[in-house]
């Protein structure tokens, strides 16, 4: 367990998110760096040892304010989902219809992450809560690397 700057390697793909995070949400930076290196990384409390998500300045169970970062498997189960047919803003129109999933990661803390499903090029898949899901790391035109999800 070590500090937030310990995620090794260069910032592979500094998209606009990473640049803005340095000012607006520095606590997310190690996650974004790990994504650029095709790894899923989450904060672990340096005192109680529990993983938490999303990153917060203090550990919600124990109140401690120091975290290390731990790589976790990009696997989980489907917790909930929606298929969006009407774009909620013009910047999302090119995506519709798109599926957004909430995935419970395969870690004891049952962290849940939200992400878009990787497009299949076909009509949206039949999904069921509890379906096994797997992460993939997709570089966007913006240069950001997003974690997208697919049924395993």
């Amino acid at each position: 367990v070590s500090g937030p700057l310990a995620v090794p390697g260069p910032l592979v793909s500094p998209g606009p998110l990473a640049a803005r995070a340095a000012v607006q949400f520095p606590e997310i930076t190690p996650y974004l760096r790990a994504c650029a290196q095709v790894r899923l990384s989450v904060p672990r409390c340096a005192r109680c040892g529990r993983l938490q998500w999303p990153p917060r300045p203090r550990c919600r169970p124990c109140g401690h304010d120091e975290f290390g970062w731990t790589e976790v498997p990009g696997r989980g189960t489907l917790y909930s989902w929606t298929v969006t047919h009407r774009a909620p803003g013009p910047e999302f129109a090119r995506l519709t219809p798109y599926t957004i999933v909430i995935v419970s990661l395969d870690v004891p803390e049952e962290l849940r992450m939200v992400g878009r499903m990787k497009p299949t090029g076909e009509t949206p898949l039949e999904l069921r809560i509890g379906d096994p899901m797997v992460a993939s790391f997709e570089t966007q035109p913006s240069g950001d690397v997003l974690v997208l999800w697919s049924p395993e």
Binding site: Q52, W53, P54, T82, T84, H85, F92, I102, R112, R116
Partner: protein, 386 residues
């Protein structure tokens, strides 16, 4: 029933502009009109106002001082923005009165919510923007319809809740609106076939599962001063609370336990009442499923039973708990649920016309906003002991 130890505030006046698609007027002008109507309804003057609670940041106290001539020394308090603030504003006003900081509180909501400041431009006022900007927006998860659809899906899977139950919420609201000439959907009936055929927005929500967007204003006058014993509506209790992680839905242990779960329990305790005592309920109906969810968490039916409850006719006029007799956000219009409080007052005054709930004595109003903030107000007809 035990009487609360503190003095009980009353809603002395209500005022509302029409519900517009395009008001063609400034937000301040709308606020002033609703405020003056509420004061006239209360039989009070602008000079009597010594507290202003501008709901949800829609308008400022300074605006009202400038445009209405509210006294410059007025006390102001601003509830957080979001859908919970229509009812949490009552809690703020009640606390100011109870603390002796004011005798007459003016609660105002005003917005050009359709022609000018639509939902997509308002979500950035809500908490947890760092999560929204970096973890959610990049994936296209940005609208309340998308957030709450996730809860609806979970409820469907865990309890077998159906689209038919959501349809019943939409159809009941639309049927009620046919008795409300002020409603945006007055004169526009909705059939089950039209509901089913409507475009999908974000599954499971189709068009008629989603509330309207509206220009307009609502105001209330609240005081400890008794005014007219036949029309004053007593605010027996009002409580507001938050879910476990109010800035984030995703990593909450229990997705169904919301602010309302705690607030309702406290409000019923404060009032010495239970859900069975409520004659009519105004439930914050931003989306159809959220009515089902809140019916359960407020205690009107057990968790998981809301589908059966509504499909048995409970929420219709004539049912065991008529809900949103004005048509609600779904069919009257969306003035942030302060319109729900106004409807509860009309019902308890027995001034609701063709949609009057016979002999209504106790009404409940819920608020819901953000990622599960919630509130419950319990109001009583003048002369009803609690």
């Amino acid at each position: 029933m035990s009487r609360p130890a503190r003095p009980v505030a009353s809603v002395l006046g209500i005022g509302s502009t029409p519900f517009y698609r395009r008001s063609g007027r400034s937000v301040v002008a709308l606020a002033a009109q609703a405020a003056l109507l509420a004061l006239a309804d209360a039989g009070l003057r602008v000079a009597d106002v010594d507290a202003v609670v501008p709901v949800g940041g829609s308008v400022s106290c300074d605006d009202l001082v400038s445009v209405l001539g509210v006294p410059e020394t007025v006390f102001d308090a601003l509830p957080a923005p979001g859908g919970n603030s229509g009812v949490s504003a009552l809690a703020v006003a009640d606390a100011l009165l109870a603390a002796g900081r004011a005798e007459v509180a003016l609660v105002v909501f005003a917005r050009n919510g359709r022609s000018e400041n639509r939902i997509a431009s308002r979500v950035t006022d809500l908490p947890g923007q760092q999560f929204r900007a970096f973890l959610e927006r990049p994936h296209g998860w940005v609208s309340p319809a998308q957030w709450y659809s996730m809860i609806a899906r979970r409820h469907m899977a865990e309890f077998g809740t159906t689209k038919a139950a959501m349809a019943e919420v939409a159809l009941a609201a639309r049927a009620h609106a046919q008795h409300n000439p002020q409603a945006m959907m007055f004169g526009r009936e909705l059939t089950a076939g039209q509901y089913d055929a409507a475009p999908m927005i974000t599954e499971p929500y189709q068009l008629f599962d989603c509330c309207l967007e509206t220009d307009g204003a609502v105001a209330l006058v609240i005081s400890h001063r008794p005014r007219d014993v036949s029309r004053d509506v007593r605010l027996l209790a009002v409580r507001s609370a938050r879910p476990e992680s109010p800035d984030d839905l995703t990593n909450r242990r229990d997705w169904f336990e919301i602010g309302l779960t705690a607030a309702a329990k406290l409000a019923f305790e404060d009032a010495g009442l239970g859900p069975q005592d409520v004659d009519t309920a105004m439930i914050y109906d931003c989306f159809t499923f959220e009515v089902l969810h809140q019916l359960e968490e407020a205690g009107f039916c057990p968790r998981g039973e809301s589908g059966r409850f509504v499909l048995a006719g409970a929420i219709r006029l004539g049912g065991v708990l008529p809900v949103n007799t004005h048509g609600g956000l779904l069919s009257e219009g969306h003035l942030l649920g302060l319109s729900h409080v106004a409807e509860a007052v009309r019902q308890l005054r027995h001034e609701a016309g063709g949609r009057q709930v016979d002999g209504a004595r106790i009404a409940a109003v819920t608020g819901w906003g953000d990622w599960g903030d919630g509130s419950l107000a319990l109001l009583a007809r003048a002369g009803v002991a609690a």
